[in-house]
Symmetry: C2
């Protein structure tokens, strides 16, 4: 008999999901209101729990960056609360009639949006993912099983308990929001194999987390967030615009997935662009790998630096740029700076990525910037959803077929 925490909670989640699928929008919105209230009233309790995690993290000598991601304070809790209010304001996708038609034999077919069911979220040290994920899944009618990293376990336990109880008090079925509390590696693997209970897995985190889930999961999975993105300055580019876009795409927030990692420059404009641009990048603390005479290394082109490092390559033209991107890119966000409409069209048609830009920074690949309101992640695979995933991407559909006794001849 399988009594692992994942199986036990999975079973409860599956039962809850069946009820949640037919829970009215009003109840889901009331739950989101109460979840926000619970966070607001219990900010101190959450910060206390978080300080236990932070102390442990300091003892373990976690990096500054990791401790920063882990850390919660008043403004960050306020951020979570605002997130809940935004999710509340979004349109409920469940029940939408995507299409309907009638067949010659009289059968009426409706394609209707339904929740995915039970969604497993596997993530690392950011406790705000606990709230964000649960809220988005809930609004789209899905039960959630959360499996956060061990470094944030005290924060996550406190937050998950508060939001789950608040949601249940509003009429959400019990079991709809659950946290796996045992952060042993085995519990993650059990969750990834819980085919009987979990419909979809979404890993949220760095490359190694996502790769582990992709390799081990026995459940349909959506890969998110790995971003080895490029800017290509084509030979007709407005060089001032190119400079602004490259600096923005690299420096505005280098630690995120839609920042660029490699700059490709057409040989015809390389000398003219590079001198002033490289000087400005260096002023902003950017380390440049490669030069006008010397490409960076294969390893550099493969790397998602997530820091103020930028690989550079001079290319012979658009074909080399496209083939470099399709070889090294992670199908996330790519941009061309050009005045040539044909070059722009070719780039958009041939680059294989979720978002392909012309004359704009890659930093816009984001649920809010696209107008979706909020996102659970940015998909880099082609199955199911691509790019920023909002509420509709957290749903499936079913066909409702109405007959009057039709049988097949």
């Amino acid at each position: 008999m399988n009594t692992s925490e994942a199986a036990q909670k999975g079973k409860q989640a599956k039962e809850a999901a069946a009820k949640l699928a037919i829970t009215p929008t009003k109840v889901k919105n009331e739950a989101l209101t109460r979840m926000a209230e619970a966070l607001s009233k219990n900010a101190k309790v959450i910060i206390d729990a978080n300080s236990i995690d932070l102390e442990a993290g300091e003892k373990k000598e976690l990096s500054r960056a990791l401790l920063d991601r882990l850390s919660l304070d008043g403004p960050r809790i306020q951020g979570m609360i605002e997130g809940l209010n935004i999710v509340k304001s979004l349109l409920d996708p469940v029940g939408e009639i995507i299409a309907e038609w009638k067949r010659p034999n009289g059968l009426k077919i409706k394609k209707v949006r339904v929740p995915l069911g039970v969604i497993g979220i596997i993530y690392e040290a950011r406790p705000n993912v606990t709230v964000d994920s649960a809220a988005l899944c809930l609004k789209a009618g899905n039960a959630t099983i959360l499996r956060g990293g061990s470094d944030a376990i005290n924060s996550n336990k406190q937050i998950a308990h508060l939001i789950a109880q608040a949601a249940y008090s509003a009429g959400i079925p019990e079991g709809a929001i659950q946290l796996i509390e045992d952060t042993n590696r085995q519990t993650a693997e059990e969750l990834m194999a819980a085919r009987d209970y979990v419909d979809v897995l979404i890993p949220r985190g760095g490359k190694s987390l996502i790769q582990t889930v992709v390799q081990k999961a026995k459940i349909p999975t959506i890969e998110t967030g790995e971003g080895n993105c490029h800017a290509y300055v084509e030979k007709t580019a407005d060089l001032k615009m190119a400079e602004e876009i490259v600096i923005n795409a690299k420096c505005q927030r280098p630690s995120v997935c839609n920042a660029i990692e490699t700059l490709l420059i057409d040989k015809d404009v390389a000398a003219k662009l590079a001198l002033p641009l490289f000087a400005k990048l260096k002023e902003k603390g950017v380390e440049i790998r490669g030069s006008l005479d010397q490409p960076a290394s294969e390893e550099d082109y493969k790397t998602e630096f997530l820091s103020l490092t930028l690989a550079v390559k001079v290319v012979s033209g658009i074909d080399e740029a496209i083939s470099h991107i399709n070889k090294y890119g992670t199908k996330h966000s790519e941009t061309i700076i050009t005045k040539d409409k044909k070059a722009a069209q070719k780039f958009q048609a041939e680059v294989d990525a979720a978002a392909v830009y012309v004359n704009a920074s890659t930093r816009f690949t984001d649920g809010f910037e696209f107008g979706f309101g909020a996102e659970i992640g940015i998909s880099t695979q082609k199955l199911h959803a691509r790019g920023p995933m909002g509420l509709p991407e957290l749903t499936s559909y079913k066909y409702l077929v109405e007959g009057q006794g039709q049988i097949r001849e």
Copy 2:
């Protein structure tokens, strides 16, 4: 260095897919025409190759059913040719603008349908799958890597060679249609792990094939075709209609996934329905498991018989029926026979399946019957596509974003 057949062909397929994604509809349709001609002209060559497989199959003492699926003759080759003509007549989904909008900052965003890329098809002994799959994938702009079962290898080699050469002669990039010729188990596993080259895997076959792929695949996979389907006769049902639907759903073609395996009868109408219905089913050769007094076994309820066997259960009402279906069903096709609109709505809302019918046979879950024209399979998962999968389900999308120098603040 990885030089497995899957990796080698995968690499070629990936290169072909990049070109095929921007190949015009006209070229794809011309390829389908030439593929049909090639089959027509070479029917004898195909039948000769097939007879080698059949002889080997008889020596290996394959079952009659398997030999029948494997066997090709004039009419079956004609069927493949008609299939190609149908795919040719279908609308090309690639390039469709699914949505477009403008953001307050002036960015214009277009969501455009694009091919999935490289699709791996893993299947068993039916050589017609070779043609069907290649044609549907091609029309949706995808390269295909076919990996059929060893029992059909001579037929598949001949067919794949003919259709690939015909397609290439029309301008389809070489490598767009390839067959893995080594039918060792290892080649299937290599294909399932070829993340660098294959975007999506679609297993087509029986339960054990699909389960193997789901367990071993490292690539996004669409589960298809496992169908443990039910008919529920609600207490207000028109019993004559119920009788016709149950007989049709069980007997019209018992070996297919959308045939029913279990009949659920409301206790209030059980006696009245069962006597004449069971007599008629037995006349048609149906073996009934369970009776009015005695449910069938747990094992029976779990089984997709795919034959003239029907499990029966008397239920106390709609709630028991729904919970039985959600427990044992494979999320494929389910039907209720009822005159009660509320019962029908409840059933459609609460049963978790790709197609949920009211007063019609489950046998209609099929690409042609739904009006999609052709299908590559019937998805029983909730990610990406559900139910019959036509051409649009063989595509993804990308966001094309056009700016005038926008950077993120």
